[in-house]
């Protein structure tokens, strides 16, 4: 099913509808599109290019390409696209890692939108402290501004101990000091900043320090990946939204003794996989999130 303009406006939350999501009831977004600075971006995560296990994903070589096609088929294209880490699946061989990154980069170059941002996951950067990632995609932490929103990309994976680290926290502190207390701030991370489920590495050891730094700012939203499923959580007034992955889903936090990928279901291929759009209504600092399947259907 392709999404037409009207439907997409609804799904992206910038149409004339009221809808609810995992975030709870969202306000009426009528005429949101008329806001000249309103926009939306697409978040893709955990593509794990190079992963090969047909019992887990029978179309591991085709899933990312289908997602690229689905994004390209959106009638209205996003302002930018963000990949929130684990672009490639881990390999212990440095050369293979670079081959996978090269192949990944080639596939996503087919995206119509050319404003694409990348950040690493531990599969990309955990074994070489981000060396290969930097060669292909640039810095592992950085900021950018778009239509009145300040975006901060935090790296909590290049250090294999699941930490952001002192230097980067100082960098974050310095960046935040330049912002007003009511600035629109969006943070992208790979791992959750809060303790979602530490026993499964679903946390950042010094994430509480980053959250503490962000707390004085009234308009902060965090988008992350890593857990291969949709998840929404607030720490105080800061909302944290996890995205689905694009290679295999993982079980709900703590729902099973051992964390393993959920097997492929031939009757429901691509189940649990997908991407999302986030419509930014800047003036009101709301992000209307819509989830899409790999094929671009509203999930």
């Amino acid at each position: 099913m392709k999404v037409d303009r009207r439907d997409f406006l609804k799904l992206a939350g910038i149409g004339t509808v009221v809808f609810s999501s995992g975030l709870g009831q969202l306000s009426n977004l009528a005429n949101a599109a008329s806001g000249k600075d309103d926009f939306f971006f697409v978040q893709l995560s955990d593509t794990h290019w190079g992963f090969a296990n047909p019992a887990v994903n029978a179309d591991s070589a085709g899933t990312l390409k289908k997602a690229v096609e689905a994004v390209n088929n959106l009638k209205i294209q996003p302002d930018f696209i963000m990949f929130t880490g684990d672009l490639t699946h881990v390999t212990d061989d440095d050369k293979d890692r670079r081959t996978r990154m090269s192949q990944f980069k080639d596939i996503v170059s087919a995206l119509k939108v050319k404003n694409i941002r990348f950040m690493p996951g531990e599969h990309d950067a955990g074994l070489d402290e981000g060396a290969a990632f930097k060669e292909f995609f640039g810095k592992t932490h950085y900021t950018f501004d778009h239509k009145g929103v300040h975006f901060i990309v935090l790296d909590n994976v290049s250090d294999p101990t699941s930490t952001i680290g002192k230097d980067q926290l100082e960098w974050l502190s310095a960046d935040l000091k330049k912002q007003k207390k009511d600035s629109r701030i969006v943070v992208f991370t790979h791992r959750p900043l809060f303790d979602l489920y530490p026993d499964w590495d679903w946390y950042t050891r010094d994430g509480a320090k980053a959250i503490e730094m962000l707390m004085p700012y009234s308009n902060v939203t965090v988008f992350y990946g890593h857990i291969h499923q949709e998840h929404h959580k607030n720490t105080g007034h800061i909302a944290h939204h996890a995205a689905k992955g694009l290679m295999f889903p993982l079980p709900a936090p703590g729902s099973v003794p051992v964390k393993n990928p959920i097997p492929w279901d031939a009757n429901q291929p691509y189940k649990g996989l997908g991407f999302r759009s986030a419509g930014a209504k800047v003036k009101e600092t709301r992000y209307a999130i819509s989830e899409f399947s790999v094929r671009g259907e509203k999930a």
Binding site: D92, T161, S162, D199, D201
Partner: protein, 122 residues
């Protein structure tokens, strides 16, 4: 003169405390069970460890290749296992049961399978 007596009493008390502390440590050290564990991609050796409840233990970890981790949530213990040194974790098992542990510092393609168990008996 009174001040001198007070000083002597204080020094004596401190010395006695030190002796008691050293004595306690010696007693504890004598009872401690020491278990040496090697960690390498992607396994611990041994990976199954049996301990006795209430008996102090020192787990001495050595990494044969890179940074690994040891995390046993059921017993509430963890540590980084850094190469080039012995990483000692001292604790007293306080409950009976079988408790899984795993590597919690991302170490490569077999990281998710780097696991073991600690069994604590009465």
């Amino acid at each position: 003169m009174k001040s001198m007596k007070t000083r002597i009493l204080i020094y004596g008390a401190v010395a006695a405390l030190i002796l008691i502390s050293v004595g306690s440590y010696s007693i504890a050290a004598e009872n401690e069970q020491v278990i040496q564990i090697t960690a390498k991609r992607f396994e611990y050796s041994p990976k199954e460890i049996t301990l006795k409840k209430g008996v102090p233990v020192v787990l001495e970890f050595t990494s044969l290749d890179r940074l690994h981790g040891f995390n046993c949530p059921g017993l509430g213990i963890r540590m980084d296992i850094r190469p080039g040194k012995v990483n000692s974790l001292r604790f007293v098992p306080d409950k009976v049961g079988t408790f899984p542990f795993h590597c919690d510092n991302f170490c490569g393609s077999g990281h998710e399978g780097m696991r073991g168990t600690i069994t604590v008996t009465e």
